[in-house]
């Protein structure tokens, strides 16, 4: 088991003919991901890499391929529309990689998805990987832009806002011989579809996941919300890291959501609450995996 996706998940790529989307669709295909179709308006009927059919609309693509997941690479101005189109077509899992979507657009998308059966992950995220069992984790499902080869199939769930910090944690685990069940990048924007808490709940229910790494940063209180829930409900060991202890207040640190607004969304405040909730907080980002293994008794 894993969460959200596995090697059988049928995946669509919205924006497959763009440079960025095409490049990563190709890497996912090489990793063994079951990419069943692409969507680019006006390019329906063409083929991607001679193997993947391209459709004009998501609903047509879903009807023809039975896809249940879609990854979005379309430019920021069109991304909100792409998310809503996927939801309208009944796609169960929508992963939006696009960075720089206007916040107002995401506010409306979030409101419109309330009550919908679709789950949105992202935007501004690296995506999701459930590693495969082959060499360098080949044969898994890679949705998004994460490097596949750093993974290894195993029992640690990873959830993070940041792409590169996720890769750090995954690589540290793999180097120490511990694999991952699923790695979820939830994105660095102030409004996102899936929260730390949503993912922690899923890891808690997943029999394959035995331990969890939770990576957060300054801004908002999503990590705190997840930690408070985990204190009472999560049966599995969790290690955490919060980036931005040295960030000056009021400045956006790269991610649109990474901004210290008040006293409760600083790195120091979050680390303190995580620790109070029984999460082992890594002293530096260089020891995220080690901190988990110590807590886990490995």
């Amino acid at each position: 088991m894993s969460i959200l996706i596995d090697e059988n998940t049928k995946v669509l790529v919205q924006g497959i003919t763009g440079g960025f989307g095409g490049r990563h669709a190709k890497l996912s295909l090489e990793y063994g991901t079951n990419i069943v179709g692409g969507v680019t308006p006006t390019k329906g009927g063409q083929m991607f890499e001679n193997t993947v059919p391209i459709f004009d609309t998501v609903s047509e693509a879903v009807k023809e391929t039975g896809a249940t997941a879609s990854v979005i690479f379309v430019p920021p101005a069109f991304a909100a529309d792409a998310i809503l189109e996927a939801a309208d077509a009944g796609v169960e899992l929508i992963v939006c990689i696009t960075e720089g979507i206007p916040v107002m657009d995401m506010m409306r998308v979030k409101a419109m998805l309330t009550g919908s059966r679709s789950r949105l992950v992202g935007p501004n995220c690296p995506g999701i990987v459930t590693p495969g069992r082959g060499e360098k984790s080949h044969g898994g499902c890679r949705i998004g832009i994460a490097p596949g080869y750093i993974h290894k199939r195993g029992n640690v769930g990873v959830v993070s806002r940041s792409g590169t910090l996720t890769y750090e944690a995954v690589w540290q685990l793999t180097q120490l011989g511990y694999g991952q069940s699923t790695c979820v990048g939830i994105g660095g924007d102030p409004i996102n579809g899936t929260s730390h808490l949503d993912v922690i709940r899923m890891f808690n229910e997943d029999p394959e996941t035995e331990a969890i790494i939770l990576i957060g940063e300054i801004g908002g209180i999503a990590e705190v919300e997840a930690a408070r829930w985990a204190k009472d409900h999560c049966k599995k060991p969790i290690a955490g890291f919060i980036a931005g202890a040295t960030a000056p207040p009021g400045r956006r640190m790269g991610h649109a959501g990474a901004i210290v607004g008040g006293e409760e969304d600083t790195a120091q405040a979050k680390k303190l609450i995580l620790a109070e909730c029984g999460i082992a907080v890594a002293e530096t980002p260089g020891v995220m995996a080690k901190t988990l293994l110590d807590l886990w008794g490995k």
Partner: protein, 392 residues
């Protein structure tokens, strides 16, 4: 992105948010003409800089206050002469202060009440929230901490928009009677402005009620969503580069995300999360980061060279730490870029490079073979320790 008060007034005029009549001036003569055009005897002259606390600020030439009440066009001209070209230091500008290039001349109104009004995006509920308080003109964080009962938060469903009952509720909470309709119109106009201009925050502190029962926005602070500026060219044109850190402006031109800090160890990192974490790890090992710098998903030779130039423009910098996790990009290409950029810029400062990921061995070999004084690190902690040792 922030804008000046006179630009905020332009937006207020466009959307029908009432504010006292006023005009911007760049020279004492323009200030005189503006005051004459206003045709009243009660005037206020306000220095235009992107910083709060202007009224209590002091100019470096000794002139006190960035906000002055005057009674005649000649007096407005004299105050403008003192302010224009002067450097205003307020509690928000730091010691360096800000050069005043423009002043606003506005009608001064006679005030009976000062209220607080803001609209911002609430992250938890993913909705706009309207915040009002009867305690206008004060530091709102202090009001929130000491007398939270004097603040009202009203959430707006973004799909339905601001409803009439919500406006009535707010007016009642503020104790407005004869001016409730005026305030309601202002609130509707401000909400429309907030949504249509893609603001992330708009704050009016204070909204004033005058002795003759008018409601005006007396000051304004705007924050716009940078991601949405592409669809508001008229707002993007309000950007004042003179008010921004020149290093940040230069970085943006090269697609680099740079924020200057006070320390002496510069860092160059790929990814925002890792860039923040790199600053943290430098601090953890006893150093002080000089900047946040995210080169994004790639790290081309040109970007690294541009980054070096920006970093080296900061005289505090005593060493550089490059921390790259090359997931998909080739570490050797990054290494070649670092070597070339170090040669081109004639880098003389200690440089520690931590590379990890795709083709990392070749990358490390390229750094070692360069003949340059580049220290390679095994892991982030090792790199941070090495750069801290090198600068101390």
């Amino acid at each position: 992105m922030n804008i000046h008060e006179y630009q905020a007034k332009e937006l207020f005029d466009r959307f029908g948010v009432p504010s006292p009549k006023g005009k911007v001036a760049s020279t004492p003569k323009e200030a005189f003409d503006a005051a004459k055009w206003l045709g009243v005897n009660h005037l206020v002259v306000k220095a235009q800089v992107h910083a709060g606390g202007r009224g209590k600020g002091t100019f470096k030439n000794g002139f006190k206050g960035g906000v002055h009440l005057v009674e005649s066009p000649a007096a407005a001209r004299d105050v403008a002469t003192q302010m224009l070209g002067g450097v205003l230091v307020t509690k928000q500008t730091g010691e360096a202060g800000r050069l005043v290039r423009k002043v606003m001349i506005a009608e001064s109104v006679s005030i009976t009440r000062e209220l607080y009004l803001a609209i911002l995006l609430d992250r938890q509920s993913c909705q706009p929230v309207i915040i009002v308080s009867t305690e206008g003109g004060m530091d709102i964080e202090e009001v929130a901490a000491k007398t939270p009962e004097k603040m009202l938060r009203e959430f707006v469903n973004p799909l339905a928009g601001l409803q009439a009952y919500q406006v009535r509720k707010i007016c009642q909470a503020l104790g407005l009677q004869t001016t409730a309709r005026q305030f309601g119109r202002m609130l509707h106009a401000l909400y429309k402005l907030f949504i249509e201009c893609d603001c992330s925050m708009v704050e009016i502190n204070p909204v004033v009620v005058t002795t003759d029962d008018h409601v005006y926005a007396l000051d304004a602070k705007f924050n716009f969503d940078d991601s949405a500026l592409y669809r508001h060219p008229e707002i993007a044109a309000m950007r004042d580069r003179d008010e921004e850190d020149p290093r940040e402006v230069a970085a943006a031109a090269h697609d680099l995300n740079y924020i200057g800090l006070d320390g002496n160890i510069a860092c160059l990192v790929n990814g925002a999360g890792l860039a923040m974490a790199t600053m943290d790890i430098i601090k953890h090992h006893g150093g002080d980061p000089a900047n946040f710098l995210d080169v994004g998903g790639g790290a081309s030779k040109d970007q690294v060279a541009a980054a070096f130039n920006i970093i080296l423009g900061d005289p505090n910098v005593k060493g550089i730490f490059i921390n790259i996790f090359g997931g998909i990009m080739d570490c050797n290409i990054v290494a070649e870029g670092v070597v070339a950029a170090a040669r081109e810029t004639g880098l003389a400062l200690p440089l520690v490079v931590r590379l990890e990921g795709n083709n990392v061995e070749a990358g490390k070999a390229t750094l070692a073979a360069s003949g340059l004084n580049i220290v390679t690190a095994d892991g982030m902690d090792d790199g941070a320790r090495k750069i801290v040792a090198a600068v101390s």
